[in-house]
Amino acid sequence: MIPYLDAGFLITLLIKTPGTQSARETLQPFEPPFVLNLLHQLQIENFLARGQIEGTPDEQRAARDGERLWRHYRDEGVFQIHKLNWEASLRLAIAWNQRLPTKAPPSPLLLLHPALAAITGGNVFLSFDPRSRHAAISAGLQVLPGQL
C-alpha cells in the first residue's frame, strides 16, 4: 500500500483545520517517509508564501507555522521529494481528461495529482477533494479517507 497525498491533504497536515485530525489518523497506518514530488513542493510553498504576504494577520501567522512544519518534516525526512516521469503523468492526465465519465472534467491540477499517483505506483490516494477523489476512483485507485 503506497500512499499518495494530494496537496490539499498535505496542507491539512501543516495548517490546523477541522480535517487535520482525520488526516493524521488516515496517515497513521502508513510508514514514512512519505514521497512527494515537485508539484507538491511548488503548491505548498506557493500557498505558504501567499499566506504570509496576502493573508490577514491570523493567516500570516498560520502560514509561518505551516512553513516551519514543512521545513521540519522535510529536514527530518518525513516528507521526501522524489523525481518522477512528468511526461507520462501529464499524458495520463490528458487521457483521463478525455475519458472521465463526468459532464465536465475537473481542473488540470485536480486531474494531475491522481495521475501522478498512478504513475508513481501509489495505490492509495489521500484527498479531501471530491473532484480529485472522483478522478482517482475512476482510475482504480483506493481513496482515503473512505468517507468525507
Partner: protein
C-alpha cells in the same frame, strides 16, 4: 541461550527512517560530552571537508552546484570526547556503487536509486560500520519502543492559530485550483 538480538533488531535491518531516528537519538545522546563530526573526502578537493549539521558556506563556495561523490570518495565520522579532548574515528566508509549528489545545503539524491539523502543520512552511511557497537546499546534499551509508530504530526497540537483561520486559507487554496 542466544545472547544475540533477533535479526530484526539489527540496526542494518532497520528501515531508513528507523535508522535515522536511532541516529538522531545517538546524536542527542552524544551531545552530553561527545561530539560527532562528519568528514567528506572528495578526491577532487584534496583534504577532507568537515561538516557539522549543515554544510557551511565556505564549503559551498568550493562546490559546483552539483558536486558528486562517486565511488572511491570516503565519508568518515569522528567521535570526540569533549572532556579529554581525545578523538578517534569510529566509522569510515567508501562511497560505493552509487553517487551522492549535493544540491546546495542538502545531500539530495542517490543517482542509482530512489533513496534521498540529507546530511544526517550521509553521516549515517558513515556510521554504518560502527553503528552496531556505538548504537546497539541504546537500541536495545529502546527495543520495546522501536515498534511503536511515532506520531510525526503530533506537534500540530502546538499550532496557535484557530481552525477557522485554517479553513479560510484552505478555501482560498481550493478556489485557486478551480
Amino acid at each position: 541461550m542466544n545472547s544475540q538480538p533477533p535479526a530484526d533488531d539489527h540496526p542494518q535491518d532497520f528501515t531508513f527512517f528507523q535508522r535515522l531516528q536511532s541516529f538522531q537519538r545517538f546524536v542527542r545522546h552524544s551531545q552530553h560530552g561527545l561530539e560527532v563530526r562528519a568528514y567528506l573526502s572528495l578526491p577532487s578537493k584534496g583534504a577532507p571537508i568537515m561538516v557539522e549539521g549543515q554544510i557551511p558556506d565556505e564549503i559551498l563556495n568550493q562546490l559546483s552546484f552539483w558536486e558528486t561523490l562517486r565511488s572511491g570518495a570516503t565519508v568518515s565520522v569522528e567521535l570526540a570526547s569533549g572532556r579529554a579532548g581525545e578523538r578517534r574515528t569510529i566509522g569510515a566508509v567508501p562511497v560505493q556503487g552509487h553517487a551522492i549528489v549535493f544540491e546546495k545545503r542538502r545531500v539530495v539524491a542517490d543517482s542509482e536509486s530512489t533513496q534521498s539523502f540529507d546530511l544526517n543520512t550521509l553521516m549515517l552511511h558513515a556510521l554504518e560500520g560502527a553503528f552496531k557497537e556505538v548504537v546497539l546499546g541504546e537500541t536495545q534499551r529502546t527495543r520495546t519502543k522501536k515498534c511503536a509508530k511515532p506520531d510525526f504530526f503530533a506537534n500540530l497540537e502546538q499550532l496557535k492559530h484557530s481552525q477557522e483561520t485554517g479553513v479560510r486559507m484552505l478555501e482560498k487554496f481550493h478556489d485557486s485550483l478551480s
